[in-house]
């Protein structure tokens, strides 16, 4: 078969000693910037561009290096989320939800190794997806216009209701705060400056890293101080094994597969990516577990299935991200944008002809994704012990370290101390909110989804000159709206039926 032949050529390219070494280097660097909050693959890739040229590497080699960094950072992002509740990457916000409780219970090793495994599965499945279906799926990315994005966001918000948990009002409040933060800055539709208070640093809005680091890292320090003062050891003793066992794999396999599929399709869409994909995967999984396994449901307190689905989803998304890049020349994230820029420096024009014009490059890159993922898994499993040991570092070493890493992450994006002040202020407020049991994840998602929803809704309505019927004018949009309604209604119906069954049962018992 053609595809298979191409793939073999790709492996021949990727297996040369230089390219293998570059993939390994990329995996290490990627994991490293992934672990560090605020610093991401964009920074690492942007920094490496001149180096790549100075070394005179051929285009496929530099692509392989960059792709390895990109997928490596997704592996790295989960580590800090699990260990210290600070997402290392935007897409790891959901990872912390189940991962951090697990590590507080002394199961950091299991959480780290299992999530490495599900990351690997998600990545590999997505890469297979690229091989099999890239050209067909590229149409999916183009089909998403403003109208379809509105549908997707409505669906995403509907899914979020599953996260509202035991205090829905507070969770909704968190969503509201996230939405409020998302409108700060220049409005892309009208050019009006919203809530910038004449501060130039706010014109482009509040950067994601500042918010996430403030919400999670800075507030965490203060909570750590509380436990420190109350004599609760901040160190966590490691419990037994650090490798997952067969039972845990079996428990999480379905979740991993579902997460991979969701992540794969969301990853195809420019702008949505791993954060949205992992949020959808998480809420889907929560719903599923609530229904099928109410007794074993440990969501919120460290459920392995939640962790597994999230990590499968965001890694799957970062791989399927390559599809619009390779088949259409459309960047779907900051990192793929830089990779496309590098291609033009080699006088290679990315776009639909790339597959036919540069088969070695394309298939070499795809083959290197397979190899890179194997390397990352092989590298991450032995590292689990090393990272888990980080938790036994005394607080007076760990806390200043978290502050420095956070500050550098925030500073690198804006080169301005303004954002450091903002990060601190957000952190202090978040500390109080967390003490008041206001959940942070809905806040972050409100921030991310709110922006996409508002801008695309307004764009859609200006396309139709105000006619709201445009919102369900395509079959994708109709399906998404339908799914959103189902997401809101079905759980209610099921709950009612369960309640009825319960009453009936009681009634019978009473009669007996």
């Amino acid at each position: 078969m053609d595809t298979l032949a191409f793939l073999m050529t790709g492996f021949a390219v990727a297996m040369t000693p230089t390219n293998l070494a570059l993939a390994a280097l990329g995996a290490v660097v990627g994991t490293m910037v992934g672990v560090l909050p605020g610093l991401g693959p964009v920074n690492a890739v942007a920094m490496l561009v001149p180096v790549v040229f100075a070394l005179g590497l051929p285009p496929e080699s530099s692509m392989i290096l960059m792709a390895a960094i990109y997928i490596g950072s997704e592996y790295g992002g989960r580590i800090s989320a699990i260990l210290i509740n600070v997402p290392g990457e935007a897409s790891a916000v959901m990872t912390a939800l189940e991962g951090y409780p697990l590590s507080r219970q002394g199961k950091a090793g299991i959480a780290l190794s299992l999530s490495a495994w599900t990351s690997f599965v998600g990545s590999m499945l997505a890469t297979v997806g690229i091989v099999v279906a890239a050209p067909i799926l590229s149409k999916w990315a183009l089909a998403f216009g403003p109208v379809e994005y509105v549908g997707l966001m409505v669906f995403a918000f509907a899914c979020l209701t599953g996260l509202l948990a035991d205090e829905p009002v507070k969770a909704l409040l968190a969503v509201g705060i996230g939405l409020a933060l998302s409108v700060v800055g220049i409005d892309p539709n009208s050019g009006v400056y919203r809530y910038t208070f004449d501060m130039p640093n706010l014109i482009d809005g509040i950067q994601f890293a500042t918010i996430v680091i403030g919400l999670f890292a800075i507030s965490e320090l203060m909570l750590l101080y509380e436990s420190h003062k109350e004599g609760i050891p901040t160190k966590v003793e490691r419990m037994g094994r650090s490798l997952f066992n067969w039972a845990e794999v079996k428990l999480t396999t379905a979740a991993t597969l579902r997460g991979s599929v969701i992540g794969f399709f969301i990853g195809l869409l420019p702008g949505a990516g791993g954060t949205v994909g992992s949020a959808l995967a998480y809420s889907t999984e929560k719903r599923v577990v609530e229904r099928t396994d109410p007794k074993g449901n440990r969501f919120g307190n460290g459920d392995l299935r939640g962790l597994a689905s999230v990590e499968a989803a965001n890694n799957s998304a970062s791989n399927s991200n390559f599809i619009p890049m390779l088949t259409l020349g459309i960047p779907s994230s900051g990192t793929t944008a830089i990779m496309l820029g590098v291609l033009t420096l080699y006088n290679i024009t990315p776009g639909p002809v790339l597959f036919t014009a540069q088969p070695e490059l394309v298939w070499g890159l795809i083959a290197s994704l397979f190899i890179g993922n194997v390397m990352l898994l092989a590298m991450n499993i032995p590292l689990v012990g090393v990272f888990a040991r980080m938790l036994s570092v005394p607080a007076w070493v760990l806390v200043p370290f978290i502050v420095v890493v956070s500050a550098v992450g925030v500073y690198s994006g804006k080169s301005a101390s303004f954002d450091l002040v903002l990060m601190t202020v957000i952190g202090v407020i978040a500390y109080w909110l967390r003490r008041m049991h206001v959940p942070m994840a809905p806040l972050v998602l409100g921030f991310v989804l709110g922006k996409i929803l508002e801008q695309n809704l307004r764009r859609a309505l200006s396309l139709s000159a105000g006619d709201v019927q445009i919102l369900w004018s395509s079959w994708i949009a109709i399906v998404l709206w339908g799914a959103a309604i189902a997401m809101l209604v079905i759980p209610q119906l099921l709950a009612r039926r369960r309640l009825k069954a319960l009453h009936l049962q009681q009634y019978r018992e009473d009669r007996e």
């Binding site: 950067q207 420019p270 002809v353 764009r459």
Partner: protein, 329 residues
């Protein structure tokens, strides 16, 4: 390369030769290029171009490092350099026509173009009207006729919001068609790339984008075509086939210049060093290839020539903004 810029390059070689004898000032310590945007954007490309050009010409011993300071198409960087980093000899900041446009509308705070020292322009791009390859519009005149007949029938997409360069191009187009810029149908996307994607998906009919990125997309096989380029004369190479708006009877020009400035308190010697360095680098034989790789066209200017150019552009932009009723806020 058009005649004008060949003349400029020749002049620059002269400057460079003269500068060679003058080069008394030492290279500034810790050279840094501030890109006022996220990594990967146009400003990053501008800084990386300077990095490559200065390195190829052997002018910098230390590498030129790139740092990122996004915000308001350069507003944050401008305020930082005019405010706290006034005299750093090693720091250059990338600017684009978009920065000048915002500066002219008072969006950079109280500052004006005279508050910094303009070092060099290193390349330019031009506005372009992009439509799908199978679009019913075969020429700019077709498009104009359709807009004129019914302004509501054509949706103009653009990569920027009201008051931005891309909006200006749309508004100028509407005006040339004899339609009020407030009556046109306009949809803002976040970046020209997003608009081009929406164009391919059939969500909009026209994008007011730039030549460089659009031609690169077409070379890559994207099913798009260019109706007109908003330059004074036809461009060189394969772009020579595409007519300008002017020759189709519509007087619209939109160059998108890219370059650098330094802080107001940077010494004359250091300012001169940077100007000379860029003049030398841009006269080097490999420079044309560096520009082409980044989808840019030559527009080399340094020193007083650039100062005059910037002042003239800012004045033009201000007049335009006034005529479109954009309120400075």
């Amino acid at each position: 390369m058009n005649i004008l810029s060949i003349g400029r390059s020749a002049a620059l070689v002269g400057i460079a030769v003269a500068a060679g004898t003058l080069a008394a000032a030492a290279e500034p310590a810790s050279p840094e290029c501030i890109a006022p945007a996220q990594p990967g954007g146009g400003f990053d490309i501008t800084c990386k171009l300077a990095q490559a050009a200065l390195k190829d010409a052997g002018l910098l011993a230390d590498p030129l490092r790139v740092s990122y300071m996004p915000g308001g198409i350069g507003a944050v960087a401008f305020n930082t350099v005019v405010g706290q980093r006034r005299a750093e000899p090693g720091t250059i900041v990338a600017f684009s026509a978009g920065s000048l446009l915002n500066l002219s509308q008072g969006k950079f705070g109280a500052y004006t173009a005279d508050d910094v020292r303009w070092v060099a322009s290193i390349g330019t791009d031009y506005g372009a009207v992009v439509v799908p390859a199978d679009s019913p519009f075969g020429s700019l005149a077709d498009l104009m006729a359709a807009i004129k007949a019914d302004p509501a029938s054509v949706i103009l997409g653009a990569g920027g919001t009201i008051g931005s360069q891309d909006w200006m191009k749309a508004a100028l187009t509407a005006r040339a068609a004899g339609v009020d810029h407030k009556a046109m149908r306009f949809v803002a996307f976040e970046g020209g790339g997003d608009c081009a994607t929406a164009l391919q998906g059939g969500h909009v009919q026209v994008c007011m984008n730039d030549v460089g990125d659009s031609q690169a997309a077409i070379d890559g096989g994207a099913p798009l075509k260019l109706l007109a380029i908003y330059s004074a004369d036809r461009l060189a190479g394969k772009l020579a086939e595409i007519p300008t708006a002017k020759e189709q009877g519509f007087d619209i020009e939109w160059p998108i210049v890219r370059g650098f400035y330094v802080g107001p308190d940077v010494s004359d010697a250091d300012y001169q060093w940077w100007s000379d360095a860029f003049a030398t680098a841009m006269a080097a034989p490999g420079y044309a290839a560096l520009l082409e790789q980044r989808n840019l066209l030559p527009l080399p200017m340094v020193g007083a020539e650039l100062d005059g150019f910037v002042d003239a552009r800012v004045a033009t932009y201000r007049e335009l903004a006034d005529s479109f009723g954009l309120v400075a806020n």
